[in-house]
Symmetry: none
Subunit: 148 residues, 2 copies
DNA sequence: CTGACTTTGACTTTTACTGACCAAAGGTGT
DNA sequence: ACACCTTTGGTCAGTAAAAGTCAAAGTCAG
C-alpha cells in the first residue's frame, strides 16, 4: 500500500472520532518513517477544500497542523432540524438543538448565541405564555432557514 | 501547551474581569518560570494595537505594565443601537437598522439574515399584532447584546 | 514509453524562547 | 541640587523548533 494512502487513512481515522484532527508534522513523519514534506503532499493532494477539508497550521516551536472536515451536508442537517420542529418548541429543547448544531460545527458560535437569545424566556417575556412555544418554533424555523 | 499561550491566557483572563490588566514583568516571569523578556515577546506578538490592545509601561521602582483592551467600535456601535431601541420596534425601522449595521460591516451577512428573519412579520405571525413591536424590540435588544 | 502521481531532501520562513546588555524611574546620602 | 545606586522594564541578536516550498528523482498504469 502506498505511503500516501496510509497517511490519508491515518488522518481519516482521526477525523472519524472528531471532525477536527491535530497533528505534528515531524512526529507523524517519524512514525511513518518518511520525510516530513510527505505530510504536506498528502495534505495538499487529499485534504483540499474541494474535498471538504480545511487545513490550518502554525510554524515555530509548538507548531501544529489542524485538519478540519467541513460538513458539506450543512443544508441537509439544517433541513432535518427544521423539519423536526413542529408547531411548538419549548426552550429546553431549543437549547439542546442549538448546542448540538454548534458542537457538530454546523453553525458557528455567533449564530448559536443569536438563536439562543432569540428563544430565551426573557426575550419572549412579552408574549403570552401560552403562545411562547409557538412563537419560538416559528422563530427557529425562520432563522435556521436563512442559514441553509 | 506553549508558554506563550499560557501567558496569553493568563492575561486574557485578567482582561475578562476588567478591560484593564496591570502586571509586574519580573513577578509574572518568575511565576511562570521564564525569563522576563518572554513577557515582552508575548505582549508584542499577541497584544498589539491591531489585535485591539494598548500596552503601557513604566520602569523603575513601582514599575508596571498595563494592558488595555480597546473595545472596537463594534461594541460602541451596537450599544448605541441597543440603547436607541425603546420599548417597541416596528419592522421597517428594524430593517433599516440591520442594513445600516451590515453596510458599516459591524455585523456580517449571516447575522443580518438571522436578525431580519427573527423580526419579520411572518415569523411573528403567532404574536398578537398589538404585541409584535414589543416582542420585536425585545428580540433585537437581546440578540444584538450577544454580539457585543 | 509517457505522463501523472509519489517520494525525497535541500533550503526557506515563521514562531518561540533565552540571555546579555541597555534605559528609565525612583530612592538616598552628601 | 547632585551623584550614585537600586529597581524596574526594553531591546536585540542568537538559537532552536516547528512547518512550507520546490524541484529532482522514482514509480506505475495505460
Amino acid at each position: 500500500m502506498r505511503l500516501s494512502d496510509m497517511l490519508t487513512e491515518y488522518i481519516m481515522d482521526m477525523l472519524e472520532a472528531e471532525d477536527n484532527a491535530e497533528i505534528r508534522r515531524n512526529e507523524l513523519a517519524e512514525r511513518f518513517g518518511c520525510v516530513p514534506s510527505q505530510i504536506n503532499y498528502v495534505l495538499t493532494s487529499r485534504f483540499t477544500p474541494e474535498q471538504g477539508y480545511i487545513v490550518e497550521s502554525r510554524r515555530g516551536g509548538g507548531g501544529y497542523i489542524r485538519i478540519t472536515r467541513i460538513r458539506a451536508d450543512k443544508s441537509t442537517a439544517l433541513m432535518h432540524i427544521i423539519n423536526s420542529i413542529g408547531n411548538e418548541l419549548d426552550n429546553i429543547t431549543a437549547q439542546i438543538m442549538i448546542n448540538n448544531l454548534k458542537s457538530a460545527s454546523i453553525i458557528n458560535d455567533e449564530a448559536a448565541r443569536l438563536l439562543l437569545s432569540a428563544g430565551a424566556e426573557r426575550t419572549l417575556g412579552a408574549v403570552p405564555p401560552l403562545l411562547r412555544d409557538k412563537v419560538r418554533a416559528s422563530l427557529f424555523k425562520n432563522m435556521l432557514i436563512t442559514m441553509i
